[in-house]
């Protein structure tokens, strides 16, 4: 059965697009037929992060308006053939998205793919609401920082009231993905700890992505980090998160604790 997942946060710049690309590629590489959909109309970037910016012909709005058929707009990844992208429009304004149109496109994507991952725009406006509207599951990307945590709390409230699933009286599945985590700073009391964030938001944890130079390197190259450098710490964390999304019992790699265990027990702890 196919699953629609929204990657959201409220605040901008916390890593929604990076996480969409990384999780999408990790799921696709595990053999899941996956499509990533860019909902950031007017400010599309998922194409760039995936290295597909020169292959965009039609976009989500063209499909919503019936100008193009869905297969014409889908871009298949050149590295993994189970990964596809539905890009956002760069020229239209965000009002071109209608609820009925989005519902139709999502329903069509559900038939073709195992995973439909919607990359939400920042904010709490129409585009963000439409990105989450038909989701079964939400990944809330949060930085261990006050404004990001506050905005995540706001988005959690919207997931519980504005999604179709919530309005039918069902529970929308929610996960926290903490990104840009610096274990050393958290240990020194300079950054909110993982437990602080989880206690404040009271949502289960999907994964912790450590702050890493590899993330920028991957976006420079136009390749999801789970493809460009699979053994890097952030890639491993994303791959484990993708496994968890599929319902597998993956242990969450806590940055910091590993280092301590590594010191105490040598490399066997890894």
């Amino acid at each position: 059965m196919s699953k629609v997942l929204v990657v959201t946060s409220g605040k901008g710049g916390v890593g929604k697009t990076t996480s969409t690309a990384a999780l999408g590629a990790a799921l696709a590489e595990a053999g899941q037929n996956t499509v990533v959909v860019d909902f950031d109309v007017g400010l599309r970037n998922l194409d760039l992060v995936l290295g597909a910016e020169r292959r965009v012909v039609y976009d989500l709005i063209n499909v919503v308006q019936g100008v193009a058929k869905l297969p014409q707009a889908l871009i298949r990844d050149k590295r993994i053939d189970t990964l596809s992208l539905l890009p956002a429009s760069q020229t239209r304004d965000k009002d071109a998205l209608t609820e009925d149109g989005v519902a139709r496109v999502i329903a069509e994507l559900r038939e073709k793919f195992d995973w439909v991952i919607c990359d939400s725009p920042a904010g709490i406006e129409r585009g963000a609401i439409l990105a989450m509207r038909f989701a079964d599951t939400a990944v809330i990307v949060t930085n261990p920082e006050v404004s990001s945590v506050r905005d995540s709390d706001r988005i959690i409230g919207m997931l519980d009231s504005k999604t179709e699933k919530a309005q039918r009286g069902e529970r929308i599945e929610k996960h926290i993905l903490i990104t840009r985590y610096d274990a050393a700073r958290a240990a020194r009391g300079e950054m909110l700890k993982i437990d602080d964030v989880l206690e404040i938001l009271s949502i289960p944890l999907l994964g912790v992505i450590p702050e890493s130079q590899e993330v920028l390197r991957a976006s420079n190259l136009g390749s999801p980090i789970t493809l460009s450098n699979k053994t890097s710490a952030p890639a491993r964390a994303y791959i484990a998160a993708a496994r968890k999304l599929r319902g597998e019992q993956a242990t969450i790699d806590m940055p910091g604790s590993r280092r301590l265990f590594g010191k105490l027990f040598g490399r066997r702890a890894a």
Partner: protein, 90 residues
């Protein structure tokens, strides 16, 4: 002075945590309340409007949350002509 410096060196994260906890407990309450008030206002208005004509802008619904008791205040202004019609038809 050294003690103060030591305490400050414990880091800013606990301050962030405490500020967030206070802020969010407040924001969650007020956001939830505005939804409840909107629903109450709409439904009360519908019931009254079945019997008397009223101006929807002249209906005020307020809620005060107290420690042990909360109060709901409903203030509806009914035009005299409408009240007279209602009384005549009763």
């Amino acid at each position: 002075m050294n003690l103060l410096k030591f305490l400050r060196s414990r880091g800013s994260a606990p301050v962030a945590r405490e500020r967030l906890q206070i802020l969010l407990s407040h924001e969650r309450k007020s956001l939830g309340q505005s939804d409840l008030l909107a629903t109450l206002r709409e439904e009360i208005l519908a019931v009254i409007a079945r019997h008397v004509t009223l101006d929807p802008d002249k209906v005020e619904v307020k809620m005060d949350r107290g420690g042990t008791v909360s109060t709901l205040e409903v203030d509806i202004e009914i035009p005299n002509s409408a009240a007279a019609i209602a009384a005549a038809s009763a």
